[in-house]
């Protein structure tokens, strides 16, 4: 396959857009529907990434890829889901400030563990030995296929989130976010719903972390900074926290615009790429967040439209 026309930066940029869309969609369920402020997205994502990396590299499996990848990705998903259960249990009945601090603390703990558990994670030196679970030719071809795999996974997350909006579970999450005491007074087990949401969303975040680990093939603790959470959150808020497509639109307008258009296609001085651009990126995201909150606080797509959805679902 001749991929000379395809820029390697573009493949990675699109992969990042896909991954952030996935994270923002999951965050949408937590923040947009149930109004749980999860500032620890990077913690669940990073835990999945390192759980995958450690199980893939450190364990001597009696079988090779693709089974090795599948088993390790499953481990990453389960470990992140288990972390979601514990963290969710801890923050479920806290107010928004408590949830924010709790999840941020969890993400910090994951970063510290990844740094200090050097024998397992490689610590600050990083961890190599990861690879694609297939080999179809050049690195670029493998990366392109991985982009398609990730797109498929994110497509599945999008379908799940889409269906959640159309299901009693989604309505329960919206009710929890809107008025939890009232929901409880109607006999709803809101605590269980929040825990269920946290487990599912955290597990999927962990899976996305594993997919990222394969794409970069080298795990670096520098990836565990707040930038991951910030990008997912800014994209979601910009697009509209309450809408499914808000996550997609917002991430395309932020990560897509910056990581693909600005970084790959604008004629910027070469020295900017190492120092200035990463800082500019965070500044631009912060500015975008301020502008949106000032002029369109509900995001580009605005408030959710249950009236339209109910008409569509039930014809009245």
């Amino acid at each position: 396959m001749n991929l000379a026309w395809l820029d390697a930066f573009l493949i990675f940029g699109l992969f990042e857009v896909m991954m952030f869309i996935g994270l923002a969609l999951l965050l949408h369920l937590q923040l947009g529907l149930a109004r749980i402020a999860n500032f620890g997205v990077v913690g669940f994502w990073g835990l999945g990434m390192y759980a995958f990396g450690v199980s893939y590299v450190r364990v001597d499996w009696p079988f090779g890829d693709p089974w090795q990848f599948l088993v390790c990705a499953l481990i990453a998903t389960l470990v992140a889901g288990l972390a979601g259960l514990v963290v969710g249990w801890y923050i479920a009945d806290l107010d928004i400030d408590g949830a924010l601090v709790g999840t941020l603390g969890f993400a910090t703990a994951v970063a510290i563990l990844a740094t200090t558990e050097q024998e397992l994670t490689g610590g600050a030196l990083g961890m190599g030995g990861l690879g694609f679970p297939y080999d179809i030719g050049t690195v670029k071809e493998n990366e392109l296929v991985w982009l398609l795999v990730t797109t498929g996974v994110v497509g599945a997350i999008l379908f799940f989130v889409w269906q959640v909006h159309r299901s009693p579970f989604g309505r329960l999450l919206i009710a929890v976010g809107a008025n939890e005491p009232l929901a409880r007074s109607l006999g709803k087990r809101t605590f269980r719903a929040k825990i269920g949401l946290f487990v599912v969303a955290s597990a999927a975040m962990g899976l996305l972390g594993a997919l990222f680990g394969v794409m970069v093939r080298f795990l670096d603790i520098g990836n565990l900074g707040v930038e991951i959470t910030l990008a997912a959150m800014v994209g979601l808020v910009l697009g509209g926290t309450a809408r499914v497509w808000g996550a997609v639109v917002g991430i395309v307008l932020t990560v897509g615009l910056f990581d693909i258009v600005v970084q790959s296609y604008l004629p910027l001085p070469r020295e900017w790429y190492t120092q200035a651009l990463p800082v500019l990126r965070e500044a631009a995201f912060g500015l975008a967040l301020m502008v949106v909150l000032l002029f369109r606080p509900l995001g580009v797509l605005g408030e959710m439209r249950r009236d339209r959805l109910m008409k569509k679902l039930h014809g009245r």
């Binding site: 959640v164 009693p168 579970f169 309505r171 919206i174 007074s185 087990r189 009236d307």
Partner: protein, 264 residues
């Protein structure tokens, strides 16, 4: 004839027994009930001046307010006695003890239809893996929802409850659709037009006739006199008197403390 509050005799309908229950805020006692049985009669009223502790007592029954001391139990002809005061709010509701709210409260992002579907959906369908059960839930409860909304004149099911009156009414309909065994209503008709108030009262009579118990807190005494079979008078956190509506409205203490001379 009004009488001092005493435990009611057992009857064949759900009863709530409140024993040695107290609640204080910052040293001020707002509820201090030694013994009170709600549910001697199908529909009972709870009246008293502002600050008498009526709303707090109702909230304590559904454990929206924790008790400082005492116990609250549910007795029912069909199941063993339940200690409500040790249960979380949602479990109490699942045992059929449901309360409407004094203040206007709603799920702002849910439509009227959504709100009622939410109330009636069984927990089994409200799980992450139940992504395709919406149609099942809707088909199962469609007739009941439509009957109630038609009856109360909320014709646009997919609209949001906009006015305070609509939200109040929706709160009551949410309670009714749960078919509660024991329904507590806090100022249910405040802000409702007269014709809707009449419909609410008829619906409550129907619920009581079907074997449920209804307890109403209201400052609109016309509702109390018209609807209730028995009335409890509260003041300063205590249940002072109970009796039939006629005896209560003529009782000297109540006229002096609450109704005012010339009320009757």
């Amino acid at each position: 004839m009004a009488a001092e509050v005493v435990a009611g005799a057992a009857v064949a309908r759900p009863q709530i027994r409140v024993e040695r229950v107290a609640k204080s805020y910052s040293g001020r006692t707002v509820v201090d009930v030694d013994e009170l049985v709600l549910g001697d009669q199908p529909i009972e009223g709870l009246i008293g001046p502002n600050g008498a502790g009526k709303t707090t007592l109702m909230r304590m029954i559904v454990h929206a307010v924790p008790l400082d001391r005492g116990t609250i139990t549910l007795r029912s002809p069909t199941q063993p006695e339940l200690l409500l005061s040790s249960m979380p709010t949602e479990q109490i509701a699942r045992h059929g003890v449901v309360k409407s709210n004094q203040l206007i409260t709603d799920f702002e992002r849910l439509t009227i239809l959504d709100s009622l579907l939410f109330a009636v959906t069984e927990s089994a369908y409200e799980a992450p893996h139940q992504l395709f059960s919406e149609r099942t839930v809707f088909e199962r409860h469609r007739d009941e929802i439509e009957r109630l909304l038609d009856y109360f004149g909320l014709t646009d099911r997919t609209a949001f409850a906009m006015s305070a009156g609509e939200k109040k009414l929706l709160d009551i309909i949410r309670c009714l659709i749960l078919r509660p065994r024991f329904l507590l209503l806090d100022e249910p008709t405040a802000g409702l037009p007269d014709d809707v108030t009449e419909k609410v009262m008829d619906a409550l009579r129907e619920l009581a006739a079907a074997g449920s118990t209804v307890v109403i807190v209201a400052h609109d005494l016309n509702v109390i006199w018209k609807l209730c079979d028995e009335v409890v008078f509260m003041a300063e956190g205590k249940a002072l008197l109970r009796g039939d509506p006629q005896s209560i409205r003529e009782h000297r203490t109540i006229v002096e403390k609450y109704l005012g001379e010339g009320h009757v």
